[in-house]
Amino acid sequence: MEYLRKIIVMTLLVVMTSIPVYGSEVIPSNGVSQYIEIINPSIEEDFNIEVRNNFFVSFNIKEKADLYLTINKVVPVMDTIFLDKILSNEMEQEEFISSLTLRVLEIKGYTTHEDMTNKEKSDYILKKNEIKDTIKEYVEDYLNEQKAYKKYISVQKEIEVLKNNMNSEDTLDVLPGAYEGIRLDYIEKRSLLKESKKVYDELFKVSILKKDPIMSEGVMPYYEKTIEDIKYGSYEMVVELKNEDKFITLESFDLDIGPQDEVAEDVLIEKEIKLIQPMNLNELEE
């Protein structure tokens, strides 16, 4: 009997430690390198690209394929601070969603003006509602996941206690069944959050280059693109393969573009944070 308990506890520990790995993305190996050699940006060491004014992209095309390059600026959003405030009832959920919706509309370039036609107005409202729904779904999934996580953590602590007091037969009989329900609930909530986060994250991406065909010019087996006067910050560079009208992401790179000078970088990040915070939330935080 003692031996069986030990096996159960050990199994539970193994299962729990494997959960964080569950959500990690699987990047296809040898995807991009089959078709192109990425010369610029240099991604040998890290993804901090030193740029002053121009973001230069150059690929050596090794094998011709229907490839496309998209570069998105990822507008950083400090939402977790406010989500946690909602979680602790320090902020109204609706207030956050409304404020962030307006900020996203601004990021995406949807603006209102006095001379709007009815069609423009209805399009704007439609877009606004879409964004609002996306944010709402994410916020709810986030809150649910956090609640499930807290439950899960508390059980984890009980497991620890159990491990240290192996002779406590009272709890051992009920714990595995109760734990399994909590664990499955957490996995489900986490999975839902992962899905809604994908859609939510897209709200904060602004394409500065959209599906540009990666083609060589004439005899030169190179693709080159210079994005002049690029703003410092976080970017996402996506190489996609088009296959029967379907775009398959071969590889996606997260890039931090900025000057080499760390001090200057810190200042910029600070400025960026101020810029990206949802309107009104600055005041609320104070």
Partner: protein, 479 residues
């Protein structure tokens, strides 16, 4: 009958006397002329020029650290760079000042913040010092500079004709030098090394440890707003009256017996006596002066000859303010050692290449201290023509290569003796690796009404040099 004979005798005698008188006059003139030839300094203007103003490396490559580069064409910044070097190179030098270094050290240094300059010719070290300091420097060494690399951390490296060297023991202040780079960094066009753009090592020799990286720079942004320049002859031999042309002849030849000859092309030639000195002014308004060699054993230092050359060029008209020493070499002619000084000039920071590219715009040759040849091929500025309504911007470097690949590859294969190949496209990496320089220049094109300076890429690949219109990619000339 008898009186008729007497008249004949008298006439004959008078003819004899006349011939004797005229002959003596000719001999007197020749004597006088040969004296003036020996005094070769007589006609040239004499003043002390600031010879440091006539120093300009072929290229100013600026590195801001890492892979961020530019090529500086701005006069003001170029002058600042030279000034900053003047304060650095004011120490005494000896052969022990130079420490041989490996290519890898040079290559590593190229990625650091600093300035690399390619000399316009393989420049003896004392020439470099003379030009930087503005006065003759006697430090004699066998070193000839191809490129110099000065870093803000105080490192100074050279690519000499016989390898790479580091200059030791300079304890000078690099503050001004660093400040110049800071100022340039405020606004510049970004360039990258050929290797950084095309990753040629990975294509040609991924395993080679001694691979020579192509460090020439190409722009990664669009170049625009370089205007076409309208220019005219410095002197128009058809429109200008003889008095003005003769004043040039007097200035160059002295006021002694001068003959004017118009050759079958319509060029005007003035010469003294039997052609000891001659000045030709051609249809382009270009001047060419020649003088017969004398037994001149006087030696001029580099600085003295440079100063005298500038004065000689200025005897015709003032030299352009943006004239610079572009080449120097010695050669043997008629048993004499001739020292040749060549100068070019620029407009808007871009060097001007003549339609007839056999030499530079200004040439002065010395036999000892005697000037035996002078050429001045200068065009005066008339008008600047914006091109933005015709071309939005210059073609990218890739487009330039694509547009002209057929010509380039055929020249390359012929030069390399390659006639057995499967595809011409296979040589594209080799072509890129063999780029020996790419520079923005102005190319002087002559036409009937006006001459124009056209913005071009001077692209050197292997043995060939191409002049390519930056806007439409057409090869204007190749050699």
């Amino acid at each position: 009958m008898k009186s008729k004979e007497s008249i004949k005798s008298l006439l004959l005698f008078s003819l004899l006397l006349s011939s004797l008188f005229l002959s003596s006059q000719i001999f007197t003139r020749i004597e006088s002329q040969s004296q003036s030839i020996n005094n070769d300094y007589v006609v040239w203007s004499e003043k002390d020029n600031n010879i440091e103003n006539y120093f300009s490396p072929q290229s100013y490559f600026i590195n801001f650290g890492g892979s961020l580069h530019t090529i500086e064409y701005n006069y003001s910044f170029r002058k600042d760079i030279r000034e900053s070097l003047k304060s650095i190179f004011n120490d005494d030098f000896s052969d022990e000042s130079f420490e041989s270094i490996a290519y890898s050290q040079w290559q590593e240094a190229i990625k650091k913040r600093g300035i690399r300059m390619a000399m316009s010719y393989e420049m003896p070290f004392n020439h470099f010092l003379t030009l930087i300091e503005g006065k003759n420097q006697d430090f004699q060494s066998g070193f000839k500079i191809r490129e110099i690399l000065v870093l803000t951390d105080g490192t100074i490296l050279f690519e000499m004709t016989d390898g790479f060297y580091k200059l030791k023991g300079l304890g000078n202040n690099f503050t001004f030098f660093a400040k110049v780079i800071d100022n340039i960094e405020l606004s510049y066009l970004e360039y990258r090394r050929v290797e950084d753009v095309y990753s040629l090592k990975s294509q040609l020799a991924p395993e080679a440890e001694d691979f020579r990286y192509n460090n020439y720079l190409i722009p990664i942004v669009k170049i625009s707003d370089i205007p076409v320049i309208e220019v005219v002859d410095e002197v128009d031999i058809n429109a200008t009256d003889d008095t003005r042309l003769l004043s040039y002849a007097n200035r160059m030849l002295g006021k002694s017996f001068i003959r004017k000859v118009v050759d079958h092309n319509g060029n005007v030639i003035y010469m003294t006596g039997y052609g000891e000195k001659a000045l030709k002014i051609d249809h382009n308004g270009f001047f060419e002066y020649t003088e017969k060699f004398n037994e001149n054993t006087n030696e001029l230092s580099f600085g003295e000859a440079l100063n005298k050359s500038i004065n000689a060029i200025g005897t015709i008209n003032d030299p352009p303010t943006n004239m610079y020493l572009s080449n120097y070499y010695s050669y043997e002619k008629k048993g004499k050692t001739i020292d040749r000084y060549e100068f070019n000039y620029s407009y808007g920071g871009y060097d001007i290449v003549l339609d007839r590219r056999e030499s530079s715009a200004f040439v002065v040759e010395f036999n000892g201290s005697q000037i035996v040849y002078l050429k001045r091929s200068y065009k005066s500025f008339v008008n600047s023509i914006g091109v933005s309504n015709i071309w939005e911007s210059a073609l990218s470097f890739n487009q330039v290569i694509n547009e002209n690949y057929d010509v380039i590859i055929n020249d390359y294969l012929a030069a390399e003796g390659i006639d057995d190949f499967t595809s011409m496209d296979d040589y594209v990496y080799e072509i890129l690796q063999n780029i020996e320089s790419i520079e923005l220049k102005y190319y002087l094109m002559n036409n009937d009404n006006f001459d124009h300076l056209i913005p071009v890429w001077q692209l050197k690949i292997g043995q060939m040099t191409y002049y390519i219109n930056i806007y439409d990619g057409e090869i204007i000339s190749k050699q």
